[in-house]
């Protein structure tokens, strides 16, 4: 098969993963939130309500696509795509196992962050083009918070890059193979040097993926639905699909950087390499579960508090931590 054909297949696979992830996550979200809230979630369509999401997707596809008269038509139509495409791009560098990955980029970490940082442009476009004041506020909030948190997100993971000596996500995972004392895995989360790093990463990635307690840009109790207020049918579907996909990506990044990616130290190497993608997905969905848990429990932070936390706390702390861990790594080796 030609190189172009293989690339096309890989893109299709990523698209399939993204759509499948959307369907799985909506069901998971409903069930997790349902049980957190002492109710059941969907139970009627299919076995334990599993087909409910399929029905919802069908509903979204067949719904009337309303375009309000006052919107900026081109931007309004383009915005979901501008949100969707970077989200799809971000799958390219994720290492699902030592062989399963779309590309093997040496700058994989930077590439993924770059892809994620394109999303606010789309949200701002959606907010502006909707000609709705709530949308505009939502778009502005999205832009403000995501720009503010890209910096600490990237700074927070620099110590890992310094230790590993590479920004290739695959290499970072390989550096976490093996165990300490035959019990503790050599994951970076076990290393006390990376505990502050991990905390900053969690906060910043919650903001980046627009999750409670930082779901400012679509805070339904404040600004109705934020940038998505005027969207309906599949345009709305695309916006939300990319949101779920972002959640998957930051969770996958967290797994890659701190929880050893596809590796599982207690199993023999042959089993791990066979089950790699499965282990990776299970870890990722555990991360997503924690995000949903937070979503079901926590109230929302105010926009000025988010900005303050980002600029005044997280960025200085991560800068200081980079210097400190740089010295530690230098002295250690």
């Amino acid at each position: 098969m030609s190189a172009v054909g293989i690339s096309a297949l890989k893109v299709l696979a990523a698209l399939g993963l993204m759509l499948g992830n959307g369907v799985v996550m909506i069901y998971m979200l409903r069930k997790v939130l349902g049980h957190l809230h002492i109710r059941l979630g969907p139970i009627h369509v299919g076995w334990k309500g599993t087909l409910q999401t399929v029905m919802d997707v069908l509903k979204l596809l067949t719904k009337e696509d309303v375009t309000p008269r006052a919107v900026d038509r081109w931007l309004f139509r383009l915005a979901p795509a501008v949100v969707f495409v970077p989200s799809l791009m971000a799958y390219a560098a994720l290492p699902f196992s030592d062989t399963w990955r779309i590309t093997n980029l040496d700058s994989g970490l930077l590439y993924t962050f770059t892809a994620l940082s394109l999303i606010p442009i789309g949200l701002l476009m959606a907010g502006w083009a909707s000609a709705n004041k709530w949308s505009l506020l939502g778009g502005m909030r999205a832009a403000a918070q995501q720009i503010a948190y890209e910096v600490p997100l990237l700074l927070s993971v620099l110590p890992i890059v310094m230790l590993v000596g590479s920004a290739n996500l695959g290499t970072i995972v390989e550096a976490q193979q093996g165990t300490f004392l035959a019990v503790l895995p050599r994951w970076f989360i076990v290393n006390p040097l990376f505990w502050p790093t991990f905390l900053i990463f969690v906060v910043a990635s919650l903001v980046e993926s627009n999750q409670t307690p930082f779901d400012m840009s679509e805070a339904e109790s404040e600004i109705v639905a934020g940038f998505a207020t005027e969207y309906s049918a599949m345009k709305f579907g695309l916006l939300f699909l990319s949101e779920f996909s972002n959640q998957f990506i930051v969770s996958a990044l967290g797994v890659t950087l701190f929880f050893g990616g596809w590796t599982l130290p207690w199993l023999p190497a042959s089993v791990v390499s066979a089950l790699g993608p499965l282990i990776f997905l299970i870890k990722t969905y555990l991360g997503i579960f924690v995000m949903m848990w937070i979503r079901g429990t926590f109230p929302r932070v105010r926009i000025d508090q988010v900005m303050q936390l980002g600029w005044q706390r997280l960025i200085p702390i991560s800068l200081v931590w980079i210097v400190f861990s740089g010295i530690v790594i230098k002295v250690w080796s």
């Binding site: 109710r39 779901d215 805070a219 339904e220 109790s221 404040e222 926590f298 932070v301 000025d304």
Partner: protein, 401 residues
């Protein structure tokens, strides 16, 4: 009087010098656009009547500079049903159905206010048991109402769970109220002369079973929302209504007590069985949203305490006085007020001796809380608006009547 008039958000003009410029609601004064020579325009946003968290159909016209509010006007009337006019055409025993639909989350207190007003004009001796049943129904309903407030306050902050947890307790309460009155929300239980039915068998056990877990759950809920740092960061110091402002805007109930004014109709003008009950009136100090939250949570504990006393000490006897089928009270003019879950619900009743009230004025505490919003909103962020509305616990049903 000077001629310098500023355009207000609405149609009207606000003239300076006419009155002390510090006194009018800050929300009605339009601030000039542009800061430090930058030409920026303020955005005027219609918040409501269709908005997820304006607690019904409240509409606020807010003028924002970025996200900060510089002017706000509260516009009401989207739920106006003319209850006061309708009452002029109802017989006295049927006005309770209207009162239920005023403050529809705490209907018992509205009914009680009307019944107390009508009884002042009637030659009737309300039996002791009726007083106790009225207090019991009021306190159960107050809990149910405060739980709705707690849940929606949680929703306003973006926490979904609190609402559904509160609904679990409310469900048990509505079951009890249904056993008591036959209805879950529109009770029509308290009528002039007494209550409509005696306690049914088994309801005491139901209430005891509810109370046995309620305090534990309430502590849990308080910990879940009030113990959360994020929530505290959201509510502390916002929407401050100090003592002076609370009095000037005629606030009552928990909103007034949060400002440190010790006034509860149940203590100050005792009615029903309250003189015989042992309870405390929780007070706040600064009057911000956090104080209002704490006062309401403490009120729920007091209500649970009162319910326990009420079912333990429930007297024997008749549940209603002998009241003619068609009530024709003496002509006259009276005023009766009760402490409802949102504040002082007052009924100004004028009778001309016929079977219909001549005039019934219904004072809804939410109306006064809503107009105080115009004063306190400017200077806050849009995210704070929903928190402040949530903390004042306004109910659009009694605001628009």
């Amino acid at each position: 009087m000077s001629d310098i008039c500023e355009e207000t958000l609405g149609v009207g003009l606000l003239c300076e010098g006419q009155h002390d410029p510090g006194t009018p609601p800050a929300g009605l004064r339009r601030a000039p656009s542009g800061v430090d020579g930058l030409t920026t325009e303020h955005l005027i946003i219609n918040m409501g009547p269709q908005h997820p968290s304006t607690h019904g159909v409240l509409r606020m016209i807010v003028e924002v500079d970025g996200e900060e509010i510089v002017a706000a006007e509260v516009s009401v009337g989207y739920l106006h049903r003319g209850i006061e006019k309708l009452a002029e055409h109802r017989r006295y025993d049927a006005v309770g159905t209207l009162m239920d639909r005023g403050d529809y989350v705490s209907g018992m207190m509205g009914e009680l206010a009307f019944a107390l007003a009508a009884e002042q004009l009637m030659d009737v001796e309300v039996p002791r048991k009726a007083h106790w049943l009225r207090s019991l129904a009021s306190e159960l309903n107050r809990l149910a109402s405060h739980l709705v407030w707690y849940g929606t306050f949680g929703l306003d902050t973006g926490a979904m769970g609190q609402f559904l947890y509160a609904m679990r307790e409310r469900e048990a309460l509505l079951d009890i109220l249904e056993a008591l009155s036959g209805q879950r929300m529109m009770f029509n239980y308290i009528r002039p002369g007494g209550v409509v039915a005696d306690m049914p068998l088994g309801v005491t056990e139901k209430i005891r079973a509810f109370l046995s877990t309620f305090d534990m759950y309430l502590d849990e809920y308080d910990q879940l929302l009030g113990g959360n740092e994020i929530f505290q960061g959201r509510v502390k110091g916002i929407g401050t209504i100090d003592r002076q402002m609370a009095l000037a805007f005629g606030l009552t109930g928990a909103n007034l007590r949060a400002a440190g004014v010790d006034f509860d109709i149940r203590k100050a003008r005792p009615y029903a069985a309250y003189p015989e009950l042992d309870f405390e009136v929780p007070l706040g100090s600064t009057g911000d949203a956090w104080d209002r939250y704490n006062v309401r949570m403490a009120e729920m504990r007091q209500s649970a305490r009162m319910i326990a006393q009420l079912i333990d000490g429930m007297p024997e006897g008749e549940h209603t006085a002998k009241v003619p089928r068609i009530i024709r009270p003496n002509a006259g003019e009276v005023y009766a007020s009760v402490e409802s879950s949102r504040g002082e619900t007052g009924i100004h009743l004028i009778s001309d001796g016929t079977e219909h009230p001549y005039r019934m004025h219904y004072r809804g505490p939410s109306l006064y809380a809503a107009q105080a919003l115009e004063e306190i909103l400017p200077g806050h962020l849009i995210a704070d608006v929903v928190m402040i509305i949530g903390s004042t616990d306004i109910m659009l049903g009694e605001l628009d009547r």
